[in-house]
Amino acid sequence: MGQKKSEGKEVSRRAFLKTCGAAGLGAMAISFGVPTLLKAQPKPIKIGSIQPATGPLAVIGQGQRRGNQMAVDFINAKGGIKSLGGAKLELVLGDSETKSEVGRSEADRLIKEGAVVLVGAFESGTGMAVATLAEQRGLPFLVDVATLDDITQKGYKYTFRIFPTSTAFAQRGTDFIKEIMAAKKLSPKRAVVTYVGDAFGKTQGGFFIKHFKAANTGIEIVEEISYPLGIPDLSGEVAKIKAAKPDLLFPICRPGDSMILTRELYKQRVELLGIISPGSPGWYEPSVVRDLDKLALYVMDNVPWINPASPVYQEANKLFEQKYKAYLDTNTGWAYTGVLVIADALERAASIDPDKIVAAFKATNFKDHPMVGDAVQFAPNGDNKNATTAMVQVLPEADPLKRVKVVLPQKFAQAKLVFPAPQLWDRG
C-alpha cells in the first residue's frame, strides 16, 4: 500500500511520458496552428536601401537613409500597402562605403535577404553598378538621387530615376545664370569652374562646361579645376582661381571641400561677383550653413529642391526637424520621395512580382511629393520626365535652419535673390 501511495504522488515514468506527449501535441498544435492565424497579417515587403553611409560621403548617405526610413514609417503609419492586405514596408540597409564595388555587393546581399525593390544610391558610380546588377537579377531599382546620365542610357528595363540628369542640371543651371545676369543687368566676362573628381563631379562639371560654352552667354570659362574627393587642402587650387581673375565661380563640390574652398577664397581675397553652383551638394547642408556661417551666405545652388508650398513637404519636414534637427534638402527630400514612389507602384501592382512592379512604375503619375516640379512620370528610358531644379540661395536669417531659400523660378520663390554678393571679407 505504502508503495502504491508513493507511486501516486511521485511522477512515474509512464505519467511523465504521457504528460510530455500531451504537451508535445499541444506544442505541435501551436506551431502549426498559430502561423495560420498569423497569415492574416501579410509578410512585410523588403525595400533594399543602398546609400554611402560611411566613407567621404557619409554625412549625405546617413541623411539618405533617414529620408528612406521616414517615408517607410509614413507609409506604415497609414496602413501599409492596402492592395497587398496592408503589408508593411521594411527598409533593409546596405552601405556602399562610397565605393561602387562595395555598393554592388551590398545590393546583392540585400537581394539575397529578400528585398523586392532597391532604392539608392546617391553616388553615381554606385548607381551605375547597382543598375547593372538589378538588370542581371531582374529586380526593380529606383534611383532616388544620382545624376550620371549613363545610368538610364544603357537600355536597362529595371532601372527608374526620379532625380534630374547631369544634362538637365547643365541646361537649367545655364538658363538660371543667364536669367540672373539679365535681371541684374550685369555682363560678367570670366568664370572659373571647379569640380570634384569622382563620377558625379566629372560628369556634372563636364556637362555643365560643354553646355555653358555652347549657350552663348558672353561669359568665358577661363579655367577648369578638378581635385580628388576628400582633398584636405585647396590652397593651390584657390591660388589658381585667383590668378585666373574670374568674375564668377561655378563650383561643383561635396560637403567638406566646399568649406575648405570658401575659407581659402576668403584668405586669399579672391574678388567675385558671386558663387553660383551649377548643381552640387556642399552648400545647403545644415552643417555647412552652420559652420561657414557668414561665409556661406549668398551662395546660390541649382538643385532639385523641396517645394516650400507643398503640404507633403511641410508635414515631412516638421517630422524631420523634430527627429534629426535638420531640414529636408534636395537629397533627403528625394530619398523620401523615392520610397513614396515605390509604395505607390506597389499599391498599383498589388504584387511583389518584379515585372508587375516594373509595369506599375511605367504607369506612375505621382503628384503628392514634396519637391519642385510636376508629377513624377517615367519616360521610356526610366528617367523622370518632370524632374527639374530650382535656384536656392543662402540668405541671412537668425536661425541657420531657415537660411536656404528658393529664389528662382518665380513660381516657387520664397525670397528675392541677392546679387552681386558682398565680398566674403566684407561681411562684418
Binding site: 560611411t54 582633398i231 587642402d233 590652397s235 591660388a239 585667383k242 575659407r263
Partner: protein
C-alpha cells in the same frame, strides 16, 4: 608661367610640408624604436582633431591653447595601445604586426563616427581666417603657426631623444632591445613611452590642423598614407628625415598644381616615392635600417 602664382604655391607648399612632416615624425619615431608601422596614425590624428574640436565647442578654448590637452590625450591613447597590443606583437612576423594596427585604425575611425557622426565639422577659430601679404603672395597665419610649431616640436623631440635620460633609454631600446634589457632598462615601459610620444605628435598635429580643414571621421586614412610616403621619403626611423620629406612632398604637390590637375596629386606624391625608392631605397636620410 605666372611667377606670382608660382611663389604663392611655393609658400603654401612649404607650410603644408611642415604639417606633413609633423604627422610623419611620430610614425617615424614609432617605427624607429619598435620596428612596427602604426597604421592607425592618421586616425589618431583625427581623434586629436576631435578632442580640440570638443574643447573649442564646449569650453571655447582655441585649438592652439588646447593643443597640450589633445597631445596629452593621444599620448595616453598611444601608451595604452602599446602596452595592451603592440608589446605583445613585437616579435611576430611583419605581416601579422600590420593587422592589429590596421584594426586599431578601423576601431578609432568608427568610434569617431559613433561619437561625432559623419558630419564635416569646421568651427570658426580665432585665427582661422587671418592672413597677411608678403609681396604679391598671401600667407595664411594658421598655416604659418602650424608650420612653425611643427618644426619646433620636431626639434624638441630630437633633442629629447639625444639629451634626456628617457630619450637615451628609448634610443638604447631601439638600437638593441636585448642589450637594453640586459643593462636593466624596462624595455616595455620605454616602448610605451616611445609609442605615446609618437602618438602625441600626431595629436598635436590634429590640433594644429583643426583651423585649417573640416574634421570628419574618414579623414585619417589619407593622412596615414601621406605620413607613410613622407617617412619612406625621408628614411624610416629618421626624425629630421621625416621633416625634410614632409617639406619635399608639400612643395612638390603644391607646385604640381601649376602643370597638372589636382586630381593627379596622388600620382605626383606616389611617383616621387617610386623614384626615391629606385634611387635611394633606404630613403634620403636613411642609414642603418
Amino acid at each position: 608661367m605666372n611667377l606670382a602664382l608660382a611663389l604663392q604655391l611655393l609658400i603654401q607648399g612649404i607650410l603644408l610640408g611642415g604639417i606633413y612632416g609633423l604627422t610623419a615624425v611620430g610614425l617615424s619615431l614609432i617605427f624607429g624604436v619598435m620596428g612596427v608601422i602604426n597604421f592607425a596614425h592618421g586616425q589618431m590624428m583625427v581623434i586629436g582633431m576631435y578632442i580640440s574640436y570638443w574643447i573649442l565647442v564646449l569650453v571655447g578654448l582655441d585649438p592652439y591653447l588646447s593643443l597640450p590637452l589633445a597631445a596629452g590625450a593621444i599620448f595616453i591613447l598611444g601608451y595604452v595601445i602599446q602596452s595592451t597590443v603592440v608589446n605583445r606583437i613585437l616579435d611576430f612576423p611583419e605581416a601579422m604586426q600590420v593587422l592589429p594596427l590596421v584594426a586599431m585604425g578601423l576601431i578609432l575611425e568608427n568610434l569617431a563616427l559613433l561619437f561625432w557622426g559623419p558630419d564635416h565639422r569646421s568651427p570658426s577659430t580665432a585665427l582661422g581666417l587671418a592672413t597677411f601679404t608678403l609681396g604679391t603672395a598671401t600667407v595664411d597665419v594658421s598655416r604659418l603657426i602650424a608650420f612653425s610649431l611643427a618644426i619646433a616640436f620636431t626639434v624638441a623631440l630630437f633633442l629629447f631623444l639625444k639629451k634626456s635620460a628617457i630619450g637615451k633609454r628609448i634610443r638604447a631600446a631601439a638600437d638593441n632591445r636585448l642589450g637594453a634589457q640586459l643593462v636593466g632598462i624596462k624595455v616595455n615601459r620605454i616602448n610605451n613611452i616611445a609609442f605615446g610620444l609618437g602618438a602625441a605628435t600626431t595629436g598635436a598635429a590634429g590640433a594644429l590642423l583643426l583651423p585649417l580643414m573640416p574634421v570628419s571621421p574618414h579623414l585619417g586614412h589619407d593622412f596615414t598614407t601621406t605620413a607613410f610616403v613622407v617617412v619612406i621619403l625621408g628614411g624610416m626611423g629618421n626624425l629630421l628625415g621625416a621633416l625634410v620629406g614632409g617639406l619635399i612632398l608639400g612643395v612638390t604637390e603644391s607646385l604640381a598644381t601649376l602643370l597638372l590637375p589636382a586630381t593627379l596629386k596622388q600620382v605626383v606624391s606616389f611617383g616621387l616615392l617610386v623614384v626615391i625608392m629606385l634611387i635611394r631605397p633606404q630613403g634620403l636620410f636613411g642609414g642603418r635600417r
